[in-house]
Amino acid sequence: MNWLVWRQYRTQGALALALLAAFTAVALWQGFQVASQWHSMVATCAGNSQCLRPGDLIRGVANGVPYLTLIVPVVLGALWGAPLVASELESRTSDFAWSQSVTRVRWLAVKAGWLLLAAAACGGVVAALVTWWSGPENAQLANAFISPQFDTQGIVPIGYAVFAMALGIAAGAVVRRTLPAIAVVFAGFIGLRYVIDGFIRPHLMAAVTTYFNVTGNFSPPGAAWVLNQGAVSPTGQAVSEVYGFWLYATLPASCQKLVPGGAPTKGASSSLNALYSCMQANGWREFVTYQPASRYWPFQGIETGIYLLLAAALIAVTFAIVRRRDA
C-alpha cells in the first residue's frame, strides 16, 4: 500500500518539497535581513518610540509571506485531498485499487494517513518559518489574537492544514467528483475560518473585564485582545460606545451640562476633567473587556484542537462512505 502512495504522489511530493525549500530560502534570507535592520533600528531609535516601526520594513515586497500559511493548507486540500477518492471514482481506477487484496478501509487509512501527515508537516514548516520571520513585528503587536498574526503563526496553521486536507478527502468521497470537491474545500475552509475568526475565537475562554475610575486610566498589558470597552452607569448599565451620543443620553442631567457641544469625546482636553469628575462622583466607572496576552498559547491550543476535531469527524465520515457505499 505504501508503495502505491509513493508511486501516486512522488512527482507532486517532489514539487511540494521544492516549493517548500524555495520558500524556506526566501524566508531565511528575508528574515535575517529584517532582523539585522531591526537591531540597528533598536540601537538608533533608543528612547524615541516614534521612529521604531519595523512594520514598514517588513511590508513591501514580502507583505504576502504570512498569508502563505493560509494558502498552503487550502491548496494542499484542494490538489491532494479532493482527488484522493473522487479522481479514483471518476477514472474508475477505484475498481483496480479496490479489487486487489487490500480492503478499502486499509487503502483509505494508508492514503489518507500519509496525506494528512504531509499536510501537517507542510503547514508546520511554513508556520514555523513565518513565526520566526515575524519575530520583529510581533514585538510591536498591539493585539496578537487577530489575522494575520494569530492565524499564520504558532500551531494553528497545522490545524488548518490537517482540516483542509480532511475536508478535501471527505468532499471527494461525498460528491464523487474532483472539481466540485475542490470548490467545497475553498468554500468550506474560507467559510469556517470566517466564522471562527469573527464569532468563535473571542469566546474561546471567558473574557476578563476590568473596571476602573473614570478619572483614571487602564489598558491591558501586552498584546491583549480588547473585545469591548466603555463606561458603566451606577445601575450597572454598560455603554460600550465610548463617549458617543448614547453615553451622553444616559448621563445624569448634572453631568450632561458639562459636556461641551453636547457630543463629547474623551481626550486630553482639560475642559473634560469636570465631566469625568462629575461621572466619577455619580458612581460611573469605566471598563475594558479583553483576552489577556498570556492566553495566546491556550488560544492557539484550543483553536488547533477545534480544527483537528472537525478533521477527525470528516475522516470518520469518509471511512463510513468508502466502507459501505457501493464502489
Partner: protein
Amino acid sequence: MSTAIETRALSKRYRRVSALTECTITVPEGRLSALIGPNGAGKTTLLRLLAGMASPTDGTAAILGDAPRQDPAFLAEVGYLAQEIPLYRRFTAEDHIQIGAHMNPRWDAAFVRTRLAELRIPLDQRVGTLSGGQRAQVALTLTLAKRPRLLLLDEPVAALDPLARRNFLATLTSAVADAEGGLTVVLSSHLVTDLERVCDHLILLAASRVQLCGDIDTIMAEHKVLIGPRKDTAPIERTHTVVQTVTTARQSSLLVRLGGPVIDPAYQVEDVSFEELVLAYMGADDAAAVRHLTTVGED
C-alpha cells in the same frame, strides 16, 4: 465438485429501479461461464455483487463458500475486471506490476512480464498510450497475476478488434487450462459466437432476472425446435415449455424446452443453434421472464 458461485434470490435495487431481481444461480468450480443478456439486464450488477464491489439489497451470495466481504483473504480469491478496463493511465505496466506485488499475497509478476513480452506490449510505456486491445490485455494479465480462484470479467473484449479478441480469449482459456480446475471464470459479452467457442457454462439474464443457468451442453440438449403445421400449441405446452413461436403462412416453428419426448408426429424435431437459443431468451419480455424462471443443468 465444489461450487464456485452460489446465489439465493440475490437482488439489487437502485432507488426504484431493480437492477437484479431474485437471482439464483450456481456455477461449479473450474467452469468458464458465459454471462449473456441485453444491455441493462443486470450483468454488471451481478458481477459487482459477486466481486464485493456492491452490496445486495436482498438475498445472499456465496463465493467459494463465503459471502463477498471486505477481507484480504476474500479479495485475494476473486479477480474482477470492470468494463472500463480500469488502469492508471499515467502509470506503466511495470508500475502496475509493482502495485499488484505490494497489494496481493500471491502475485505472479513473472507471469505478467512473460505474457506481455509474448504479446509485444512494452512494460515501460504509459498505459494510457497503449491501444485499447493492449490495455485490455494488460488488465486481464494483471487480474490473472493475482492468481484468483474466481475471475469475473465484465465485457472485457467489447472494444477489441477480432485479432485482439482472439488473443485475449486465448490468454483466458490457457489460464483456465493451466489452473486445472482451480480457476472459475464468469465472462460477460455480447459476442455470442466467441462465448460459444470458449465457454461451457451459461448464465442468461433478461429484464433483471435469470432466464437460464447451467451447463451449455445440457441446455442445448434440452432445447429443440419443433417445426410443424400451424395449429393450437396447447397440447405441446402441456408437456413442454414454449420459449418462442415463429409462424409463417403455412407452418410454425416452436422453440421449446423439452419436458419429455415429443410424441406428436406432425412435428419435425430439430436441434437449435446456440445463437438462436440465446436470442430467443434475450428477447423474452417481462411476463415471459417470470414464467421461465428456472434453473437447468447440474445441481
